[in-house]
């Protein structure tokens, strides 16, 4: 039996385009697999096929997913696709297949006994947690021109999941969140809509000078951070479990410590 591997681009559009093409092949879904670009181990008896990004196809798949599975499941799929794991494309594809064959497709994400659904669930949960951690732990510094500036380094590509939160919260601020791992900037102009910027190099360091107030307020927060702890209850291990070390290199109160 011939197996087909569709190689998709690592993006939401790329994977949804792959799903569309897989359906176009009109073959049993067990014979078709989605994978992401480069480092897939080549199999001897498999046919590999590049699958170009097609925004029209992707949008059609997205629409179908929302209509048949509902917003919650759609969000789970989007989150799973923000993961760096390479099996996500296959998991998303087969979850869609599984969902469409269910009596009530709205229940697809409840079907955790299905290994693909479970995988999507697992990836999405990690992404949701990491996004939530960022909503909590992102720290802005005020630059000289009153722009609020933050640097993050998440494992998953979570920036689009956290921007709506900050845009709603700080509507009158110019702010920028920089994902230094992927070199993506999310930019929110005061009173405007936010957007992403990538692939154009970084802002030069000398433009990122902090405002005068920055030092004052970060010191104030640092002293609050220390005085609010109850000495008799000290528990660094608990602190570490609640606030993983890897976030601390971006957080004002831990940087001041040094």
């Amino acid at each position: 039996m011939e197996e087909y591997y569709l190689i998709c681009e690592d993006s939401l559009e790329g994977i949804f385009s792959g799903v569309y093409d897989a359906y176009l092949m009109k073959m049993p879904h067990e014979q078709i697999h989605l994978c992401l670009g480069e480092d897939e181990n080549l199999r001897l008896f498999a046919v590999y096929r590049e699958c170009p990004v097609d925004e029209v196809k992707a949008a059609k798949v997205a629409k179908t997913v929302v209509r048949r599975f509902g917003q919650e499941a759609y969000l789970s799929l989007c989150r799973a696709m923000a993961s760096p794991e390479t099996d996500k494309a296959e998991a998303v594809y087969k979850t869609i297949v599984a969902g469409l064959s269910m009596k009530n497709p709205m229940e697809v994400m409840g079907n955790l006994a299905n290994p693909y659904v479970y995988r999507v669930f697992e990836l999405a949960r990690f992404v949701a947690h990491e996004a939530h951690f960022h909503v909590e732990f992102v720290r802005f510094q005020e630059l000289e021109n009153e722009i609020l500036y933050s640097v993050i380094g998440p494992k998953n590509n979570i920036i689009t999941f956290i921007m709506p939160h900050f845009a709603d919260r700080l509507p009158l601020e110019n702010f920028i969140i920089h994902d230094e791992k992927r070199n993506i900037y999310a930019i929110h102009p005061a009173k405007g809509d936010w957007y992403l910027y990538s692939g154009g190099g970084e802002f030069p360091e000398d433009r990122l000078r902090c405002s005068q107030g920055e030092e004052h307020y970060s010191e104030l927060f640092y002293s609050f951070f220390r005085s609010i702890a109850i000495r008799e209850r000290e528990n660094l291990l608990l602190q570490r479990n609640m606030l993983p070390i890897r976030y601390r290199k971006y957080m004002t109160e831990f940087l001041m410590n040094k």
């Binding site: 909590e136 722009i147 689009t160 709603d168 929110h188 992403l196 104030l220 609010i228 609640m242």
Partner: protein, 473 residues
């Protein structure tokens, strides 16, 4: 979502916001120039004193109300609450928790701020409070403000100061983030009413579980005076709900509900007594949360217990676990404890303890038992129970599936069957199971060698967010 992920790439020269240039600055109503004020004490020193004095109040939760920003100021709120940091005691920092002043005319024996203590005193001005809140909030340090106070001159006078700060913050500074304020017993009810229209949460601390305890340790406070504002807030919330139905734009009164706090271990009450009080507060006063605060002996007062082993943290932890059982697991206090068995088991969490005393109700069949029954199985938490009920609609679940769903099988295996079979051939006998459950080391929050909150046995899976709040948040 699709559009946002798609190539919204701009050339650098076309970006609307670029560091090092001057992007259009929009007038921000919440940036107010306070430079005119001079004060002998620096803001830094005040903040140190007044946060240090506020830290024994446990509540730091920012939950209970989800509200979007209206675009004209700063801030929103999230129904589940958001923690922003964790201090070295592992407690969540969500709100800027401060006292307006630590001056106090009262002399509560357990309190660091009592009149008879010789400690440095300080007071904020309303503008200083607003400035700190806004500047911390902009940087995503905090979720909002938690304002409490010592009593200066009189309860009403103090309440007026708090009101002024909160009023400024909401109207002048247009702050729409979370605000929790203390209602001071004995203050003019009209002030409490007005403050309730600005705050998200209000709380009145019960302080001690019994009126007698209060009398000996807080001679200036009276149980009646504490319950009166609590009742007023409860009624205010109820009335407001009706008003909002009639007039859509009526402003909301304490939309995130009210909470309270009891000190644990300063007076001789049993756990049973504490749980009965808590249950009553939930049922009769509709409280959102009751917090338990392990007594820290700051004053070394002769009328207070010495506690050589430090604050009673294990006891506090058991109370929180039981509190969770009341609020989310459908338990009644009387099921967990009684006059004959007035205290929680040191070795077992209250849910496992209960299950072991009711073995006749087990094992339950996971593929058929109703939600409430599943919820009572040790090793199965709220999320797992919900997932089970949902997943089994698509076919019978196996033990393997349960594990994926987040059930802690090591604990649950004595209490469940899957498709009529138990996981192992095991004795259903109290002593035997007890020994086995105890040997699965319970992860405690203050166990210095290997605790993880995430693995907390009672709350099986990834209930970390709820835990953050329980952990003093």
């Amino acid at each position: 979502m699709l559009k946002q992920v798609t190539g919204i790439q701009k050339e650098m020269q076309h970006l609307t916001v670029v560091p090092g240039t001057s992007p259009s600055t929009i007038q921000k109503p919440y940036i107010v120039d306070c430079k005119g004020q001079t004060d002998k004490m620096t803001l830094q020193r005040k903040l140190e004193i007044l946060s240090d004095a506020a830290k024994y109040d446990v509540s730091c939760s920012s939950s209970g109300v989800g509200r979007k920003g209206d675009g004209t100021g700063i801030g929103n709120t999230s129904a589940a609450g958001i923690c922003h940091s964790f201090s070295s005691d592992g407690r969540c920092i969500s709100l800027l928790k401060i006292l307006f002043t630590n001056e106090c005319i009262y002399d509560c024996k357990y309190c660091i701020n009592r009149r008879s203590n010789d400690v440095p005193r300080a007071s904020f001005t309303p503008d200083e409070i607003c400035e700190l809140t806004i500047q911390f909030y902009r940087r995503n340090y905090i979720e909002g403000l938690f304002l409490s106070s010592g009593i200066i001159h009189s309860p009403t006078y103090t309440m007026e100061l708090i009101y002024e700060a909160v009023y400024k913050l909401r109207t002048l500074y247009r702050f729409q983030g979370y605000i929790h304020v203390k209602a001071i017993p004995g203050a003019d009810p009209l002030l409490i009413q007005r403050l309730g229209l600005l705050a998200d949460r209000m709380s009145v601390n019960l302080e001690l579980p019994t009126a007698e305890g209060l009398k000996t340790l807080a001679p200036n406070k009276h149980r009646k005076n504490i319950l009166a504002p609590m009742r007023q807030i409860q009624q205010g919330i109820e009335q407001n709900k009706e008003e909002i139905v009639v007039y859509k734009h009526a402003s909301s009164f304490v939309p995130a509900g009210q909470s309270t706090q009891m000190i644990v271990g300063a007076t001789p009450e049993s756990d049973y007594h504490l749980m009965m009080v808590a249950e009553n507060l939930y049922k009769k006063f509709d409280l959102k949360r009751v917090y338990y605060s392990a007594f820290v002996n700051v004053n070394e007062d002769s009328e207070l217990p010495a506690l050589p082993g430090g604050p009673p943290l294990l006891r506090e932890h058991r109370l929180y676990q039981a509190d969770w059982l009341l609020r989310f697991y459908g338990f009644e206090a009387g099921e967990l404890l009684s006059e004959e068995k007035p205290n929680f088991n040191v070795l077992l969490d209250p849910k496992a303890d209960w299950a072991l005393r009711h073995l006749e109700q087990f094992p339950v069949e996971v593929n058929r038992a109703d939600y409430q029954t599943i919820l009572r199985v040790p090793g199965i938490g709220v999320k797992s129970a919900q997932r089970i009920v949902r997943a089994r609609r698509n076919g019978n679940l196996s033990f393997e599936d349960l594990k994926k769903i987040g059930v802690v099988l090591k604990r649950a295996l004595y209490f469940i069957t899957c498709n009529g079979r138990m996981m192992y051939n095991t004795k259903i006998e109290e002593d035997y199971i007890t020994r086995n459950l105890i040997s699965v080391k319970e992860k405690l929050p203050f166990d210095r060698d290997g605790m993880t909150y995430r693995q907390l046995s009672l709350f099986d899976d990834n209930m970390v967010y709820e835990w953050k709040q329980a952990a003093g948040g």
